[in-house]
Amino acid sequence: MSASPGSGLPAEGKRPHVIYLAIGFPPAAKSSAYRMRETANQFINVGWDVTVVNVAQESWERDSGVDLTLLDQVDPRVKIVELPLAREDLETDIRLYDEARALNPNGWVAKLRRRQMKPFPEPNFGEWRTDLEQAVLRIHEEHPADLLLASCVPYVNLAAAWKLWEEKRVPYAVDFRDGWSIDVIEGVEAFGPDSEEGRWERKILDEALSLWVVNDPIADHYRRRYPDFADRVHVVRNGYDADSSPGRAHAPDPESGLVFGYLGTVNFTPQHLETVLNAWKAAREKEPLLANARFEVRGHIGNGAGREANRHTEILKQAEADGVHFGGPAAKAEVASIYAGWDAMVLILIGGRYVTSGKVYEYMATGLPIVSAHVVEHDASNVLSGHPLWTGAVGIDEEGLTESFVRAAHMAVETSDEVHAEAMAHADQFTREALMTVAVKNLVEEFTAKYAAQGARGVDPGGTPAAAPETGDVAPVAEKSIVAGGPTP
């Protein structure tokens, strides 16, 4: 037995081991990186060994970018295995193109996506299946795993989780974050139960130890869709990192101009952005407090050939005359100081009732007024409800947003320190550390209750201990680089 019940502590001096499929783990500058980092750290805290599987840093450079400061807070005991996988569709080196791709880059990528769906039904990632399967088998051979946790996207991780279960009976849990069979943006089912994706999802969830999702509407979807599985569905909210919070609200200086800010990936439509900026312009014309105000946008825009060279960038550029400034991506380490220089937050979100986003928690923790630029029926509205400095959700409506900007400007200059403190306190319940501590503890308990009591490292379908991992030639995880954590065993 590798874990003692309840504590997750190692029996007979051995620490239990979790393989964490976390493609998007630091240093990837993705919004999911924070959740992944905290999850890995929490496993370390409860006495587990953690091997994170991610893809190579160079792959992130042409995807959502890299933020090396994100690695600073990864527990050094977390071992990171980087696989030499990359999204082929994002390749920008023309020398690597064949003639067909050079002739018709977009058509070629469309065909590629169809091809990628064959090994696993997921565009862009389906072809990673074999590499991921082989990677988890190799890691398990080298350092037997007690549990695998797959964070999706990409969903192709599920194939690797299944492989390790099928061949080595290593139990697994899934962190779907936003859910697979629900299109959280449109709020409809993304695929039917009989589709290939549907069959995969059912198969995976049938055997999964636990499923995490980020909010109640998504959890309800899964409980409805798989009633037998309902008690294994858990809401693990995203929360915010305490160190991203500026600590106290910035003292506004209307003389030199209020500063509104948006920090996050620019993933909304150009129309959405235009509506917000039109409202901003109208509000500046209307409200004297905003006449000299600035609106700073920080974050990643576009990827591949379109990185920082798409329609959004141009719209932001055109809005410079209205005090709008795009400052590019922000390193995680800068976040708190950026927030400290702002007087109000602009929360631009896609989707609706199924979307929460991590941003909302971080924005709340600033204790600054929040202008909501998302549809009214949005899970962020639920989270913000009761926040004293929230202008309310008025939809993606130019006139409504104009009023919200005006209201936020007044809130910024007229609110007392006490109210700012109250606003910050509203976020206390959502620190990422607090949320993930509970989530990991619960998962370890579920694992212990179901498997560890049987003394298993590797469990057969009947629940009896499986044979110990095969000995013999163990394929080294040689071609992968270890970028953090201790030496490879």
Partner: protein, 711 residues
């Protein structure tokens, strides 16, 4: 110093580009831009770029050989850009000296790919950020790449030679079918004979006929091109290939805005192919061929963009061949509903789902009224606002596949999944416009929900009613009797036992706001509201104007609404061109005034004394009705499409409003506006009629009855 060459085929986002060039410069790079887009038209933006060099690449292949131009026409964009750029010495020189070559858009990628074959030291990147990263990488090596020989590598040259050899047969064919040859009657006839020569293998015959057709089209013989393809097709036994060649021939004419001479043959060939594939159980191919048959048969060039349509003469006869197809019969077999719909509840409000795909122009009053109705719980669903629903709502080919496969396709499953929740909620679904969404909706059994669909007029000229299972629709609402007649004559299901109940309900219009006082001068102003489609035939109104002006030059014509979009079709473009030509002197003299699009029709109507409907067909002409409500004298052309039929403009409007010719129209106008009193009286009568029959308080009762009476 790092030498950077940007290649752009499309106008870039200039603000972003300017920022990026500054970043390149800051790294010590010299940036040169070569573009195939028109630099001069963006001179102002280009001037803000801090470039070291700028070069206009040839913008087309206009001055190159005809064979090359023909090849360019059938090549993908990337190849076209390269064909334009390849001979440019500035580009080749810059490319040879560049350290980094950057394609700014997908169209430029192939050119960069080819240039990179000649300069194998340079980095070749797609996108500004990757280009900048490549420059950053070079700064550590002193800013430039290790130069290799400036002579192009042998293998690149060899590949180029191979490419030209591979292209030889095409080039030969293109030269042999060049414009001068095809322009001559002898040459064209010779080639047409060649494509039907006996003993030619099928593949060669098909390929030859395509080159011949291409050549003919270049020589301006569009119909000759269609004939060559049709002639070749007649000698080809393979049903699929035969259908394809005929289809290509027909499309050559259609894209030129012409009514194709071999439409019936092309449709018949696609149907024959569909039937044979259907019989063999190859559903996907059968659905594909049937889809093409319906697409060709109901192409907008034939029915919408012209002043007439084959449906005007004999609608039933037009669709008869279609319905002789076995595949089509399978498609149109009524599936019926499993259970009758449940009567509207009496213990709670009726749950009414009003839905459409984007076009909600005629729903505003209905939504306002029932949104605030104690007996109704209303939901509105715009199918076009959800990418999932939009995708299934217009998926014609998938609908066909589903019907031909007996409802076993994954389309059915997808519609179930995405639309069933709405059906489960609603007691009644009211779908506006009987187009794609009606086909989608009737793919699945409606359960116990009542389905009401409205067909305006336009839909009858499309393929969609033929892809809709009307046995799953309970009530079909028309806006006028003549539209109902046309739809019934076209769609056999509407004549069968399982046809829905028919209703005629006028469009919802609030006419009360139109009653505004008119100045005396308005008496001489004729008005036409809406001129954006060929079917509105504004030239007819100009004819009328000219006739009345012969009697009195005070008459003017006021045109309200946006112009026809020439991009819609070639036929539209041509109509517009002729119309503009006719209009120019009249506008200059002030006889015609164009007001353009407006949100405020009532105030425009204040100036209009006579309202004209010049259309060749209409469902109900809203502009005319609004004009009548404003007390303008209505003069409606007896819409030729329906003229002489049991129901037409003459049965829709009161006697006296409808005229048979421009001459008659002029007579009526001169009489009705002879004196101010006569004019005001005629207008008053028209307004009384409009308000008593078409105004929303009246029409609203019909909708209440439609939705709520059935309790």
């Amino acid at each position: 110093m790092t030498e950077v060459l940007f290649v752009a085929a499309a106008k870039p986002q200039f603000g972003v580009l300017a920022d990026s060039v500054r970043k390149f410069n800051a790294l010590g790079a010299r940036v040169h831009l070569a573009a195939t887009f028109h630099l001069e038209s963006s001179a102002e933006e280009v001037a803000t770029l801090e470039l070291a060099g700028l070069h206009q690449l040839p913008r087309s292949v206009a001055h190159r050989s005809q064979a090359l131009r023909r090849k360019a026409r059938t090549s993908p964009l990337g190849m076209r850009v390269w064909m334009q750029s390849k001979p440019d010495s500035w580009l080749r020189d810059r490319a040879r000296r560049a350290d980094v070559i950057v394609a700014l858009d997908p169209g430029a990628v192939y050119t960069v790919w080819r240039l990179a074959q000649y300069n194998r030291s340079a980095a070749a990147m797609f996108g500004l950020a990757p280009g900048l990263k490549a420059v950053e990488g070079l700064t550590s090596q002193g800013g430039s790449v290790q130069r290799r020989s400036v002579i192009p590598p042998l293998d690149a040259v060899a590949r180029d030679v191979r490419r030209s050899v591979d292209g030889l047969p095409a080039a030969v064919m293109r030269t042999a079918t060049a414009r001068p040859v095809m322009r001559s009657t002898v040459g064209a006839r010779l080639w047409r004979t060649a494509v039907t020569a006996p003993g030619v293998p099928t593949r060669v015959r098909a390929a030859t006929s395509r080159y011949v057709a291409e050549g003919m089209q270049w020589a301006g013989r569009t119909s000759g091109a269609a004939i060559a393809l049709a002639d070749a097709a007649s000698k080809i036994p393979d049903l699929g290939l035969k259908a394809q060649l005929l289809d290509e021939g027909v499309m050559k004419e259609i894209t030129k805005g012409l009514s194709p001479r071999h439409l019936d043959r092309a449709v018949a060939a696609q149907l024959a192919f569909a039937d044979s594939e259907f019989a063999a159980g190859r559903i996907e191919k059968a659905a594909g061929a049937l889809d093409r048959a319906l697409f060709l048969d109901f192409h907008r060039v034939l029915h919408i963009d012209q002043l007439s349509s084959p449906l005007a003469k004999d609608a039933e006869g037009f669709v008869a061949p279609l319905y002789r197809s076995r595949a089509m019969q399978a498609l149109s077999r009524p599936q019926g509903r499993k259970t009758p719909y449940k009567k509207a509840p009496t213990d709670r409000p009726l749950r009414l789902l009003v839905t459409t795909s984007a076009n909600d122009n005629f729903l505003h009053h209905i939504l306002d009224h029932f949104g605030d109705h104690p007996g109704v719980e209303l939901r509105f669903l715009d199918l076009a606002a959800s990418k999932h629903l939009k995708r299934i709502a217009w998926a014609g080919r998938r609908m066909l596949e589903d019907r031909l496969s007996g409802g076993t396709s994954d389309y059915q499953e997808e519609v179930e999944r995405l639309f069933r929740p709405y059906l489960d909620w609603a007691d009644t679904v009211f779908l506006d416009w009987s187009v794609g969404p009606a086909g989608m909706l009737t793919t699945i059994d409606p359960g116990d929900t009542r389905i009401v669909v409205r067909l305006h007029s336009y839909e009858a000229f499309t393929r969609w009613p033929h892809m809709t299972d009307f046995s799953r629709i309970d009530d079909l609402v028309f806006v006028a009797p003549h539209v109902k007649d046309l739809a019934v004559s076209l769609v056999p299901q509407l004549r069968g036992d399982q046809a829905p109940r028919f209703h005629i309900v006028d469009n919802a219009m609030d006419l009360s706001g139109f009653a505004r006082p008119k100045p005396a001068e308005a008496r001489f102003n004729l008005g036409l509201i809406g001129i954006s489609q060929v079917a509105k035939d504004p030239k007819w109104a100009v004819d009328v104007l000219e006739r009345v002006r012969r009697h009195d030059e005070r008459y003017r014509l006021i045109l309200v609404g946006g112009d026809m979009d020439p991009k819609t079709s070639r036929a539209t473009r041509e109509y517009r061109r002729e119309f503009e030509k006719e209009l120019a002197p009249l506008e200059e003299s002030g006889a015609v005034v164009r007001l353009g699009p407006t949100d405020d029709v009532p105030s425009k109507l204040q100036e209009i004394g006579t309202i004209i409907s010049s259309s060749v067909r209409e469902g109900c002409h809203v502009g005319l009705m609004e004009g009548a409500a404003s007390a303008a004298v209505p003069v409606a052309r007896d819409w030729p499409f329906y003229a002489g039929k049991p129901n037409s403009a003459r049965t829709l409007y009161p006697e006296g409003w409808v005229v048979g010719s421009p001459e008659e129209a002029a007579k009526r106008i001169l009489e009705a506006t002879a004196t101010e009193d006569a004019w005001r009286n005629a207008g008053k009568l028209a307004a009384e009629h409009a308000l008593s029959v078409w105004d929303w308080p009246v029409v609203q009762k019909h909708f209440e009855k439609l939705f709520l009476e059935d309790r």
